[in-house]
Every structure is written in C-alpha cells, then in structure tokens.
C-alpha cells in the first residue's frame, strides 16, 4: 500500500499529529463513548470545509452534508451504496458507473460490491503521448447514457499522476452538465499533490460553482499521515438543505448496518487540528513538507534522466503530480528494473515517488536509463 516516506525512507508521523495526540492523551475528560452514526460533528464540518473552501456558496447556503467514514474507501462505499438505492429511481443496479482507465484498482470492487452491475471504463491515459487522453474522455462522456455516474479523481490521479488542467476540467464539467452525468469525486490527496489545499480542490469547487450536485469521498490517510486510523469523509453537495437532510437520513441507515458509527481517534485528531488556527497552520506546513519532497524528487529524477540522455521525453515526470508517476516503462522494462535492479514498480510502469530519496536518485535514474536502452 502506498504511504509517504521521508528522505531516509521512513514512515513519517506528522509533527502536528504527534502534538495533537499528546493533547488528546493528556485530556482526561475525554472518554471512548460512541460517536453519532454520521460521526464527530466537528470533524464532519471541518472536513467538508477543507474540501469545499471557507467561502463555498454551498456551505453558505447550508446545502452540504458530511458522513464521517472509514477512510476514503469507506466514504466511497457509503456513497456507492446510497447511489445504488436512491440515485435515479430506487434501483440503480443497472445504472452505468464509469471508472477511468486506469484507476485505483479498488474502485471497481467498491461499486461492484455496492451492487452496480454495469461498470464501464472511460478513456484517460494516453500511453503514446504520456498524458491525458482528453478527446477520448470527452468522447466517452458524450456517448455515456444520461444519468451515468462518473468517478473523477479530484487531483493526483491514481495511478497515472496525470490531472486535467483547469481548462480541461471546464470542458469536462460542460459535457457532464449537458448530459446529466453525476460527478463522484475521489479526493485522497488534497494538499499532498501540489502542497496547496486550495489548488488541489480546484476541480471539486469548480463543479460546485457550476451548480452540480455531487459527492466527494475524502481521505485523510495521506495528507494527515493517519493511514491506520481510517479517517475519511463523504461530502454531499445538494440543491438545498431539505434534499441534503433526506440524503443524510438515508446514509445514516446505510452506515448503521455497515459499521454503526465510526472510530473516534483519527477524527478527533483531524477535528482538533482543523479547528485551531495555529494547529491548522502547522498542518498545512507539514503537508507542504511532504508535497515539496515529492516535487523535488520528481524534478531531480527528470533532470538526471535528461542529463543521462535517456531515450524518450521525461517531462511527464514533473508534469504529473502526487504520489505516483506513470513512467512509461513497458512490462519488460519493469521486469528488468525488478529483477536486475531490485527497484519495485508495478507492471504498469507506475512508480511510487515517495520511494525516491536523495541517496537512491542516482541509482534509480541509472537503472531506468539501463532499462530503456537495453530492453525494447
């Protein structure tokens, strides 16, 4: 599983998390009572505020809802279960769900297990140009049956690291609006991708400003480094408060039979951090530290490959964003990397940028160079 690593190749507990955990441990007034079914109120409100922005019209107009969930996966699953029951009529088993090619491999399972029978793919990665296949993507959206559900990566697309530009997002939104397609955002890397919370949430907020009703599954695993505490949030944006209230009441029923109520520890850490201006600033700083290290590794890797004269173009390494990069290495080259150089990537050529350190950059660059020159 993908997790951030320091330049020493070690896991990193964010300093602000350590601080807040100590605060929680010292607070003897806290107990372990059940949270409400939908989660810790301070967590829910703050988590959604992070995604939508302090000045979000949807928040001002009181037409948002939040469901604290077990990680981003849990948020996706609750959203999926709700959509299958309530989206377009009362039985959406036949409603098409579109997932990008490629995508996080668990997306498919989430929607299958939620009961959707028609899971389709939409074009996304253009292997030839090592970038976004926008025409293919838009074409699929034009052809999709009206009311289809589209899973969109809010930022730092997993596994390609390739995101639409704002202009491209505008085109996507226009087609989705015209064809009544439902946006279900998966936001697992807000802040972690560019280092800026606002920048990484641009797409979600744009869709909200365009009047969409949407879901956004948020994960705090990476940007808070709280992987094993399962901190996630499903943000619901609706037309008005009444609709959102009814949606939440039904999501409550779904939560009740899945996990009853969510775990307390991680939500407390996040809520405490986000609701304190000082801690919030510290957190943003910690997030930027992680994002900057990844960005640095990207630029260092690219410059080494270009210095080595490795055949091909390598700008995609710095144009891509987030934890992962689609190097463009083919399966044979990947096999070489694994077997001969003991560098582990996925068969897709996906590399985890967090695995790069100042100590291994040279080795990795040379190995890629060898793989590309020796193996066709």
């Amino acid at each position: 599983l993908a997790a951030y690593r320091t330049d020493e190749g070690q896991p990193w507990v964010l300093p602000v998390v350590k601080k807040v955990e100590q605060m929680i441990a010292n607070d003897k007034s806290l107990n372990h009572e059940y949270l409400p079914i939908l989660g810790l109120p301070e967590f829910r409100a703050n988590a959604s505020r992070i995604a939508l922005g302090d000045d979000s019209p949807a928040i001002k107009e009181n037409r948002i809802g939040s469901v604290q969930s077990l990680g981003g996966t849990g948020a996706l699953r609750i959203g999926a279960e709700f959509l299958r029951r309530w989206y377009n009529g009362n039985n959406n088993t036949a409603t098409p769900v579109y997932i990008s090619t490629p995508s996080w491999e668990n997306h498919n399972s989430v929607f299958v297990d939620a009961g959707f029978k028609d899971i389709r793919t939409y074009h996304y990665w253009d292997a030839a140009k090592r970038g976004l296949d926008l025409q293919g993507l838009l074409g699929d959206m034009e052809k999709a049956p009206e009311f289809s559900i589209f899973i969109l990566h809010a930022c730092a697309h997993n596994p390609t690291g390739t995101d639409p530009t704002p202009d491209q997002w505008k085109q996507i939104a226009a087609v989705m609006k015209r064809r009544f397609l439902f946006p279900f955002f998966d936001s697992a890397y807000q802040g972690f991708a560019s280092g800026s919370l606002d920048k990484d949430a641009w797409a979600v907020r744009y869709f909200v400003s365009e009047g969409f009703e949407l879901f956004c599954a948020q994960s705090f695993s990476k940007n808070f480094g709280l992987y094993n505490e399962r901190v996630g949030n499903l943000t619901v944006v609706g037309k008005d408060a009444d609709n959102v209230q009814r949606v939440l009441s039904q999501m409550e029923k779904i939560v009740r039979t899945t996990w009853s109520n969510p775990p307390s520890q991680g939500a407390r850490i996040v809520a405490t951090t986000l609701s304190s201006p000082q801690l919030f600033a510290e957190w943003k700083d910690n997030v930027k530290t992680m994002a900057d290290r990844v960005l640095l590794m990207r630029s260092e890797l690219r410059s080494r490959l270009e210095s080595l004269g490795t055949p091909g173009t390598w700008n995609h390494i710095t144009e891509q964003i987030g934890m992962f990069s689609f190097t463009g290495l083919n399966p044979k080259q990947v096999e070489y990397m694994i077997k001969e150089k003991h560098i582990y990537l996925m068969a897709s050529g996906r590399i985890n940028m967090c695995g790069l350190t100042t100590k291994n950059l040279d080795y990795v660059a040379k190995s890629i160079h060898e793989a590309v020159t020796k193996i066709q």
């Binding site: 997790a3 955990e21 009572e33 399972s109 297990d113 094993n228 009814r246 949606v247």
Partner: protein, 401 residues
Amino acid sequence: SSWWSHVEMGPPDPILGVTEAFKRDTNSKKMNLGVGAYRDDNGKPYVLNCVRKAEAMIASQKMDKEYLPIAGLADFTRASAQLALGENSEAFKSGRYVTVQGISGTGSLRVGANFLQRFFKPSRDVYLPKPSWGNHTPIFRDAGLQLQAYRYYDPKTCSLDFSGAMDDISKIPEKSIILLHACAHNPTGVDPRQEQWKELAAVVKKRNLLVYFDMAYQGFASGDINRDAWAVRYFIEQGINVILSQSYAKNMGLYGERAGAFTVICSDTEEAKRVESQLKILIRPMYSNPPLNGARIASIILNTPDLRKEWLVEVKGMADRIISMRTQLVSNLKKEGSSHNWQHITDQIGMFCFTGLKPEQVERLIKEFSIYMTKDGRISVAGVTSGNVGYLAHAIHQVTK
C-alpha cells in the same frame, strides 16, 4: 430540481429518540434508561484503568501510523480468538480458525453476513430469536439475506420460552443459518441455562444448521469471561463449526474505538486460509483495512498479563454493579409494596432488562417521572445507580400497582 427529490426521510432511530427527549427534559430526577453504554454508580461513562494504562503505553511507544493488514492487527485477532475459544480449545490450538478484525460488533456481524451471502449456498435464511437486537435484521437484509424467527422470549413469564424455541428450531429447514446470542441476550437479558444450551446444541446439530454466535458481552454478563463464553465453546466441542462476532465496546468500554472481530471455525488450517482470503476480498471494498487504536488497546490488555488480570477485575466490577442494581431494584420494589413478581429482573443478565412493562406504563414513566426507556419496556440497567434505584422502583410501582 434535485437528484434527491424522491429520497424519503429515513425513519428516526427509536433509541436515539429516547435520548433526544431525555436531553430536552428539565426534571432533575430524570433517568436515561435507553443508553446502551455502561455508566458507573455516578451515572458517568467509565474509562477502564487498564485501558488508560494501555493508552499510556501506546503514547510512549511512538509508533508509526502505517496501514494495518486488511485482516487487522494480528496480535489482536489471535488474542480475540483465544479469549472466545479458550486457551485449551482444540480448535484454537490447532489453528483451524480464521479471525479478522472487524469494526466492533456491527462491522464484524456485517462482514460475516456478507460472507454468508457470497459463500453459503444452501440457504438465504437467517433465523433470529424473537426478539433480537434491532440492528440484526437490517444488517442481514442489507447483506442480501432473508430473515426468519424462532420463538425465544416468553412475555408471560419474562423468561425463556424454551419449549417454544426447541419446537421452532427443530422445524428449521436443514442448512439454514441460525443466530444465537452467546450471553446477555439483547434486548431481553434472558439467557438459556447450560442444560438448555446442551439441548439447543443437539437440535441445531440434528438440523445441520449454520450457527452464527453474536457475542457482544463476554465478561460483562456474569463477570466471568469463561462462563460467558461457555455456550460458544460447548458448541464447538460438539463438532459444530460456528461463526462468531465479538465486540469490545462494552467489556472494555471501547465503544467509539470500534474494536471487534469475526471468526470462522474451519475444518482445518488450509480451509481457514482460503476463508481468510475471501474475507479480505470482502473487506477491502468496504473500508480497505481496519482502524488501529481500539484494537491496539485491546491487544495490549489481552496480551499483557498484569493488564489482563486488571481487566478481568474491572469487567467483573462492571458486571457486579449491574447485578447489584438488579437486586436493589427488586428489593426496592418489594419495599414499595409491589405485589408483582419481579424475579425476572434478577434472573435476567447483562446490560438490558425486559421489565414486562406495557407501552402505556412506559408512557407514564416518561411523562410523569421523566424516566426514559424504549416502548418495549426494555431498560438499560447500566443507567441505574444506587442514587436513583429507589426513585425508579417508586415510579415503576406507581404505574403498575
């Protein structure tokens, strides 16, 4: 217009409704007997000392926050299995079981229900005792199974309708799924005696039923973890390969930390491995992997001899206080001059008590005395204290005399 115009408002949770009304009540003598969480004799939530100690150990260890495996914290799942099965259990020692960490009792039940839906081919029917925990039905239904019932509680005697249960169970179609509460039946507090469990095991075996035990109160019921697990262990000894859900919400007071486990007793270790692989495939698209905090606290307690000893004392303390409140309630009712037979209050066990009060009487308790409980007459004995047991007895007598 909205996508959600046709979405109905979900019905309000009946138990939550009780708490909401309680919160609004300004009567200083008010009592919340709907709460499904333990309270100490001051009516306050109780964080166990062994939990605080385990937390201090965790804080000092400064561990990382890396993902747990899908099946959860291994030290926790192993200790959970041992706690339920007993360290001398052949099934435990041989390793012919799989235990995965679950999101407390609910999450463990749901993983099991999903597993049955996908892999238990002979039947879609789950037989629940009448009555059962309110959430059992929607859990199994959402998992895609069907619900049936067997007689269990006798409202005339406020105790077990054993002949009715045996009669119904003996007629359950073979290879159906039957759910049994291992101890401290929720909501009635009525448990079979060991002799009755033996007969239940025999009929269940004869009908070749798949037994699903829900054990949410081990240690919390009688104060003795071995005694509370007796039925589970007996069934397994009889060659019944049960499946089991455990919760640490009550017995360790870890409610909001969601510590639980789901276990499948298998024919052998090879089968256990195959079952585990399928459980992981079910869990990954639900929440990927479970939360660490509660499981780590529970694991430290179970695996650290001094803390485990301390826990056993504390869980007995909680059980003893509940038993003492039952006793005091009955003696106070006698003192009030009640001529009714209230023996069921002390015969029943665990957090909950089916008082036998009728809806109209419950209504009066709420309106006239600010004593809040669910309409079925169920009280949470955990909400009774030595400070308010007299008031409770007085009120019950007023509405039943």
